[in-house]
C-alpha cells in the first residue's frame, strides 16, 4: 500500500501516538487521553502498536464515530503490522474502524 505514508503526511491535525501495548489495562487511560483531545482534528499514529486488545479497538471505533459526529477529522496513520493483524483477527481493518456504524 504505497499511498499510505503519503496519506499520513497530507492529513493535518493533532498527532496522537498509540502506546505499544493496548491491552485491558490500557483501555481506561486511552479513553481519558482521547477524551481530552475531543474536538480537535486527530491523527492516530498506530505505528508503534505491538499488542492490540479488543477493548481498545472498541474505544477507537467509538472515538472515530464520536469525532465524525462532532465533525472533526479522525485518521489512523501508519498502522503497524501488529495493529493491522490484530484488527484482522476481529474482522476489521483500519479503515473499517473509521467507517463502522455505531449506536448513535
Amino acid at each position: 500500500m504505497p499511498r499510505k505514508s503519503n496519506k499520513a503526511t497530507s492529513v493535518e491535525g493533532t498527532i496522537f501516538a498509540l502506546p505499544q501495548v493496548l491491552d485491558l489495562k490500557a483501555a481506561t487511560p486511552l479513553t481519558e487521553k482521547l477524551m481530552a483531545l475531543r474536538g480537535q482534528d486527530l491523527v492516530i499514529d498506530a505505528s508503534k502498536v505491538e499488542r492490540l486488545g479488543t477493548q481498545c479497538v472498541q474505544i477507537l471505533i467509538s472515538a472515530a464515530a464520536t469525532w465524525k459526529d462532532e465533525m472533526a477529522a479522525f485518521t489512523i496513520a501508519e498502522p503497524s503490522d501488529a495493529f493491522t493483524s490484530g484488527l484482522q483477527v476481529l474482522g476489521l481493518t483500519p479503515q473499517a474502524i473509521i467507517e463502522k456504524e455505531v449506536a448513535q
Binding site: M1, P2, R3, K4, K7, S10, D23, L24, A27, T28, L30, T31, L34, M35, R38, D41, L52, G53, T54, Q55, V57, Q58, I59, I61, S62, A63, A65, T66, D69, M71, A72, A73, G86, Q88, V89, L90, G91, L92, T93, Q95, A96, E99, K100, E101, V102, A103, Q104
Partner: protein, 764 residues
Amino acid sequence: MDAMAEIRQTFFEECAEQLADLEAGLLAIENGEADSDTVNAVFRAVHSIKGGAGAFCLDDLVHFAHVFETTLDEMRSGRLDSSEKVIKIMLRSADALADLVTVARDGGTADAARNASLIDELKGLVALAKGEEPPAPTAAGGGTSEASDGPVYDDGMGDLDFTPVAVDLSELMGDGGDNTFRIVFKPMPRMYAKANEATRVLRDLYALGEAKVICNTAEVPLMQNLDPEGAYLTFTIELSTAEPEEKVREVFEFVEFDCELSIEAIESEEDDDFGADDPDIADILNRIKATSDDEEESAADEPAVAAEEDEPEPAPKAAAPAPKAAAPEPVKPEPAKPAAASAPAKGEAGGDAKGATAGAGAAQTIRVDLERVDRLIDLVGELVIHQVMLSQRAYQAGLARASDVAVGFDELEQLTREIQDSVMAIRAQPVKSVFQRLPRLVREVADISGKQVKLVTEGEWTEVDKTVIERLADPLTHMIRNAIDHGLEKPEDRIAAGKPEEGTVRVAAMHRSGRIVIEISDDGGGINRRRVKEIAANKGLIPADANLSDEEIDNLIFLPGFSTADKISSLSGRGVGMDVVKRSIQALGGRVSIASKPGKGSTFTMSLPLTLAVLDGMIVSVGEQTIVVPLTAIIETLQPKASEVKSFGGDARLVQVRDTFLPLVDVARELGYAYEPASATGGVAILVEAENGARSALLVDAIQGQRQVVIKSLEANYGRVPGIAAATILGDGRVALILDVDAVVATSRVEGNFFNGSMKHAAE
C-alpha cells in the same frame, strides 16, 4: 431468493430517502440555512448509500459515492468553503448519484462521460481544499464506456477498504473441512475482566479451519457513554472445519460463562447463507431480523426518552429511519441519548417549513404496504355506508327521533366520520415528495435553455392524498418546464427590462376550502396575447377575426395542438404541453387557471381535491334515477322560468341566466333515461363549469340533498360507462352514479347524446 430481493428493495427505499436528504441538505446550504448538522446529514446520506451499494457490489455507484463523500468530508471539516460554485457541483453530483441509483435498481446505463467529468470536478475541489494544484483530468474524463469496469478513473480508492470486509485470515488458518458452523460470539465485560482476550479465542478458532469473521460494531456507543472496559462487539464467525462440534466448543471452554455464544451447524450453503459473504448484507439482514426486537425495545424505551427531555419528538436521528440495533438480544438498555444528540437540529422544526428542512422525517414512522391502507379505506367506506343505511332503516321502522337509540345513531355517525377522516389522514402525504424533485428539474431546464432560474417553493408540508400526489408530478413538471422555457425571458432581455438577471419560479401549495391549490408563478414577461391569438388563428384553432377577452386568449394555450415555440426544442414546443396538463388535472377532478400580467409574469393555479376516495356531491333525481353531481363543478342552481328558456335549432335549448344564455343540457336524455325532452320549467337547472371554464346548465328533475359520498370505481367493478365518472352507494343501499360533468356537457354540444353513436367520443 426472496429475502435477498427484500433487502435490495429496502436498500433502494433507503437510498431514495438518503438522496432526498442529500438534496434538501445541499439546497439548505445553498440558501444559507445550513448548520453543522446539515453538512453532517448530507455527508451521512452519501456515506450510507456508498455503504449499502458496496454490499451489493454496485461498483459504479460506490466509486462515485466515494469521491463525492471525500469532497463532502472536506466541506464538513471546514477546509472547503460552501461557495456557490462548490454547491452547484455538489448538486449536479447529487443528480448523478441519483441516476446511478436508478441505473443500479432498474438497469440501463449511466452517463459515464458526465460522471467522469464530475469526478474530476469533485477531485479538483478536494485538491483545492488541500491547497494543491487540481489534478489534470484523467483519461476517462473524455467519456468512455469503460466506466463500468472498475476504477478506470482514479478515485483514490485504490488503497482503502471502506466497508468492513471478510478479512483474509489464511495465514492464521488451518485447513477447511466438511463441517460448517456459524458461531455468534458476544463477549461480556467480565470475560475481559478475567483477562480473557477475544482475539485469543478467535485465533484459536481460526486454527481449526477456514473462517470468515464479521464484527458487528452497532452497539459501540459514542465516547461520552463508553465504558472503557465494557464489551460492545459481537463476532459472527463462519467456520468450515474438519473438526467436530465438540472441538469448536472446546475453544470457548474458558469463556463459556462469560460470553453469549451460539454455535450452529450449517447444512447447506445456499440455504440462508447469502449474507455471510458480505458483512454489510449480514448487517442489513441482522437489522431486518432485529426489527421486531428493536420495536419492542424502543417501545419500552420511549417513555423514558420522553421523560428525560422536553423534546416533543422522541425520535431516532433523521438520517436513519431504519432501526439501527443489530444484535438480536437487547442486552444492555440503550440510553436515551439519540434524541438528545439530534435535539438541536429539531429545536426549531415545528411547523416552520424552513426549519423543518433540517428536521424532516424525524417523526417515528412505520412503513405500511399501500394495499393495506387502501383496504382499510375501503372498509371504512363500507362502514360509513352501512351506518347511514342502518339509521335510515331504523327511522323507517318508526324509531322516534328523540329516543336514546337515535342519539346513539348520531354519536355513531360522528364516530364513523371521525374514523374516516383519520384513515384518510394516513394516506395524506406532504407534497414535499413531489416538490423535492423540482430543483433538479429546474437546474436541468435552466441549463438547456441557458437561463438563470431560482426556484422558490412554499407550503411543501401541505398534505394531500397519496393518489393525488402521484398524479400531480407530471402536470407540475410540464408547467414548470413551460414557466422556464416560455415564461422567463432570456438573461439579456431581463436586464434590458430592468429585472434581475436570474428569473424566479415560485411553486406554492396551500389548502383552500377543502381543496389543495398549487400555484406556479414566474416573474417573466407574461403571456404575449397578441402572439398567442395570432398562432391560434394560424393553426385554425380560432377564426382569425374572433373577438376574445384577455382571459379567453390566455386559455387558448390549453387548446390541443397549440404551441408558441418557433422551433421544436428538447424542452417544449411539440404542442402536447398544456392541453395534456389540463386534461390530467381535470381527470383528477381539478381545475387550472391562468393569471398573466404583461411584463410581470404569469401564475398558473391548479386546484385539486384532497382525496380521490370521497367526494362532496349534490344528490339529484333524473328520471327514475338518483345521480350525484360533483359539488366542485357546480356554481349555482336555479329554477328556470318559461320565459327564460329559448329553443333553437332542432331541440336544443338555451336558458337565460341574468344577462347570458347558457346551453341547457337535458341530463335524462343525455344518459338515455328518457327520449322526450323534459319540461324545462318542471325541473331544476344546475349551473356547472366545464372545460375551458365554459358554463352550461344541467337540467335535472329535483335536488335531493348534498352529502359526502364514497367513490367506487365503475371501471374496476363493472366497466366504463360514458358520461359517468364513478359510482357510490347511497344510504338506502342503492347504487347511484356520479356524473362526469365535462363529458356530458361536451357530448351534448357535439353529438346530441351518448346513444347516437357517440360512444367513441365519450370514451376518450
